[in-house]
Amino acid sequence: MAGLGQTLGRAATWPLTLAARAVDPPLRAWQRRTGTGGMAAVFLAPNLLIFSVFVLVPLVLNFAYSMTGGTGILLGQRPFVGAEQYARLLECQDYTRPITCREDQFWTAVGNTAQFVIFQVSLMVVVSLITALILNRDIRGRSFFRAVFFFPVLLSPVVVGLIWRWILQRQGLLNLIMVKLGLEPEVWLNDRVYAFAATIGVSTWAHMGFYTLILLAGLQAIPRDLYEAAEMDATPPGRVFWRITLPLLGPNLAVVLVLALIRGVQIFDEAYVLTGGGPGTSTLYLTQYIYESGFASLLREPGLAAAASILMGAVLVVLTLIQLWLSRRAEGRKAR
């Protein structure tokens, strides 16, 4: 019987053995030529290839497109126009009134995104901090609640958007409940303010578990005896929070803030599924503008979309650098 098992096992690994035999001679030859240092390149190559094909090349292409005009799809069919697309996007009489800008939709999206980011990030930081503080206490069913708050993070953004559309639409769950309770139903997603608030609320709900987790880790890293020392010092709970918890959570809060900012600027999928940018353009955010002007509108303008995405990318690069700097500083502080 053992013999059969061994045979089967060998049969199962046979293809692997074959493959290993096949790649062995060229790898050996390569190593003889380049030494062990050269082997690093071999193992990094697949990842570098993927990175190039899906990130680096598109990035360069995108930059190239942003310098071209017309409605052609292939780069060869598009005339070079230099920085004209950027000039178009930036041309404006009064930046506070998108209607006076040449590409008014772009500036509407910029304004909406800015408002979204301000409200959503503030809400996100506060809500995830409160949740983390509660989950950090010795409450009954703590692991259950941790799972509950983290669960939405696992959902696809499209699913999140769909769920909430079913809840908020004209004949959705919320209105059903309101009617049952004898209240006037409301067309939530057709109201500028409600729709805007819905995109904020839904995206916060969908991602807060992630930020809560970061803050929870930070809270748990604060030594318990500091709280006991504060207790011996007769410190009121409010003062414990402001003078001990918050300062020691600072690095984690900073990371949460910047990560939420970066993801806030990129807001797209769940908001697009939920409101489609409407009503009107009241929830039209930057990524949706880029997507529509480049791919989905009647008059496709890949050059304009590329330029807009480069501008947005510049903002994100700045935010990412801040985030890297902050997390490095936090690590440095921990190491000390």
Partner: protein, 349 residues
């Protein structure tokens, strides 16, 4: 101010009981030391006194006031943690003032108290530094300073010196003794270091498995240990024990040396290593064979085995010329001998 009374204290964590009925009085101004093996409940007992944990049953009194249900904040005690528990994001000055600010003490008085503590502990120049910029010994001083400025009814210290190296521990120990003499405040001190316990304590509380084994002065414990555990725990090297059978008030040590014993049947004879010395003359003596010689200069520690294999340790003064494998004869004075009955309790001679 600062008399602490524990009355029938027990503590269970879930189903495990770790403190089994402690009755203890710590007098005003006294320095009481809790010693005992790891896990015997020293820290737990201290935390119960501090109010960081609540006893399962029993009463705690401070200055005649029942504080069993009072919060830590209400007890007027200050604690020095083993880890120091300094606030890492605050300067030394902020660490010291933090607790005082909670009491709404006027600023000038806070500054005055901090200055005084700074002078007393020689941390005046460190005031603007953060804990990460201090050495272990300096952190220790700041932790003590944070307790001192509060002017507490009593200090609670949980192994405050255990994170320091041997030399610094010696210095800080002397400093703590000086501080206690100067402040004359009650202190409860947890340690597993015998030397700390012996040198600092007015009163030593020996704990084992959540029970008190003996409470006495350091010399009282050393000279009259009430049971085998205390006898073996206090004093270094450990006391030598010989198990003998006593009949008619007499028993024989391994090797044939007979001595008068206050008991019958199974008796343990205990002799401290310092109580044994080389026998002179041919009279009856304890005959052993040397296994190991540790010459420390001023004294020599000799590890040997009696005829029946019982290990015997003796500390001889000076540098006698001895070698492993050599048989020697040991003598002792009658008053250096302790007797314990079959139940492990002391038998009075």
């Amino acid at each position: 101010m600062g008399r602490i009374v524990l009355d029938g204290i027990t503590k269970s964590f879930g189903a495990t009981q770790v403190i089994h009925g402690i009755d203890l009085e710590i007098e005003e101004g006294e320095l009481a030391v809790f010693v005992g093996p790891s896990g015997c409940g020293k820290s737990t007992l201290l935390r119960l006194i501090a109010g960081l944990d609540r006893p399962t049953s029993g009463r705690i009194e401070i200055n005649g006031r029942d504080v069993t249900r009072a919060s830590a904040a209400d007890r007027g005690l200050a604690m020095v943690f083993q880890s120091y528990a300094l606030y890492p994001h605050m300067t030394v000055r902020q660490n010291l003032s933090f607790g005082l600010e909670n009491t709404r003490m006027p600023k000038p008085e806070i500054a005055e108290r901090i200055d005084e503590a700074g002078r007393m502990l020689e941390i005046g120049e460190l005031m603007e530094r953060r804990p990460t910029q201090l050495s272990g010994g300096q952190r220790q001083r700041v932790a003590i300073g944070r307790a001192i400025v509060r002017n507490p009814t009593a200090f609670l210290l949980d192994e405050p010196l255990s994170n320091l190296d041997a030399e610094l521990r010696g210095t800080m120990r002397a400093e703590l003794a000086r501080l206690h003499a100067r402040l004359a405040t009650t202190m409860v001190y947890v340690t597993h270091d015998q030397v700390e316990a012996m040198t600092l304590a007015d009163k030593i509380v020996v704990l084992r498995g959540g029970r008190i084994e003996q409470v006495d002065t350091p010399l009282g414990l050393y000279n009259r240990p009430q049971n085998l555990f205390v006898a073996g725990f206090i004093g270094a090297p450990n006391m030598n024990f010989f198990r003998v059978r006593a009949t008619g008030g007499q028993a024989e040590l391994p090797g044939g040396l007979s001595l008068a014993v206050p008991g019958e049947g199974e008796v343990t004879v205990g002799i401290r290593p310092q109580g044994l010395h080389l026998a002179t003359g041919d009279g009856p003596a304890l005959e052993v064979v040397i296994r190991l010689v540790e010459a420390l200069g001023a004294e020599t520690v000799v590890h040997a085995d009696a005829a029946d294999g019982t290990p015997v340790v003796t500390v001889l003064s000076g540098q006698p010329s001895l070698a492993a494998g050599q048989p020697i004869r040991l003598a002792f004075d009658a008053d250096a001998v302790h007797f314990f009955g079959a139940d492990g309790m002391r038998l009075e001679a």
